[in-house]
Amino acid sequence: MKDAVRIQQDDFSQDEEIKALKACSLRMGGIATFVGCARDFSAGRTVSQISFDAYGSMALSEMNQLRLDAIEKYSLLDARIVHRLCTVTAGENIVFIAAGAEHRVAALDACRWMIDELKVRVPIWKKEVTPEGDAWLTSHP
């Protein structure tokens, strides 16, 4: 089974990730997921591609810590975080978050917390390639 926290070039399968998440317990009643995708339009400009840069070793250890923090904070049964690092075009997946808990409130709360925290804790940067030139993003809309 793939690691619960990964940085990878390839796309991920939600079905595979959910299957892995559920494997830990038959007591899981709610699974919340979030997928972040590349958009064809951002801040008024057409975006043709998005590329990334990351401080890989720190990003992976922060993501692992973030998963453990979420499991503890929300009493999750399990959680998974996958971030792609490659050049993506509109519609492609960038990040996957999943939280599994006995009840839905904890799963939904934890999923939102993880994606919010990931954006402020994990050293990854996004560059939008547009017809007018490239631009690194530094805000969190």
């Binding site: 070793s57 990003a59 954006k119 402020v120 050293p123 530094t138 805000s139």
Partner: protein, 79 residues
């Protein structure tokens, strides 16, 4: 030597991904930051976070030791 790393938007403004700075006895993270910021003000105006050996450090008074890996980073924008 101290190995200094840069990523993404900071690399773009600096034109380099890393540099080596001699480690002076008692040099703090603040000293290193200010030294580089004086040379590269345009790049350092977007620096928000520092890490030492892969751990984010908020207290810039920490002393650096020879062989440290220091990173000056812009605001993250992953996810």
């Amino acid at each position: 030597m101290i190995n200094v790393l840069f990523f993404g938007p900071v690399v773009e403004r600096l034109g380099m991904r890393d540099c080596q700075i001699p480690c002076v006895e008692g040099m703090t993270l603040q000293c290193l930051h200010d030294q580089l910021a004086a040379i590269y003000p345009h790049a350092f105006e977007i620096v928000c976070f520092c890490a030492v050996n892969g751990w984010q450090v908020r207290d810039l008074s920490v002393e650096l030791v020879d062989g440290s890996e220091v990173t000056f980073m812009a605001k993250f924008s992953g996810g």
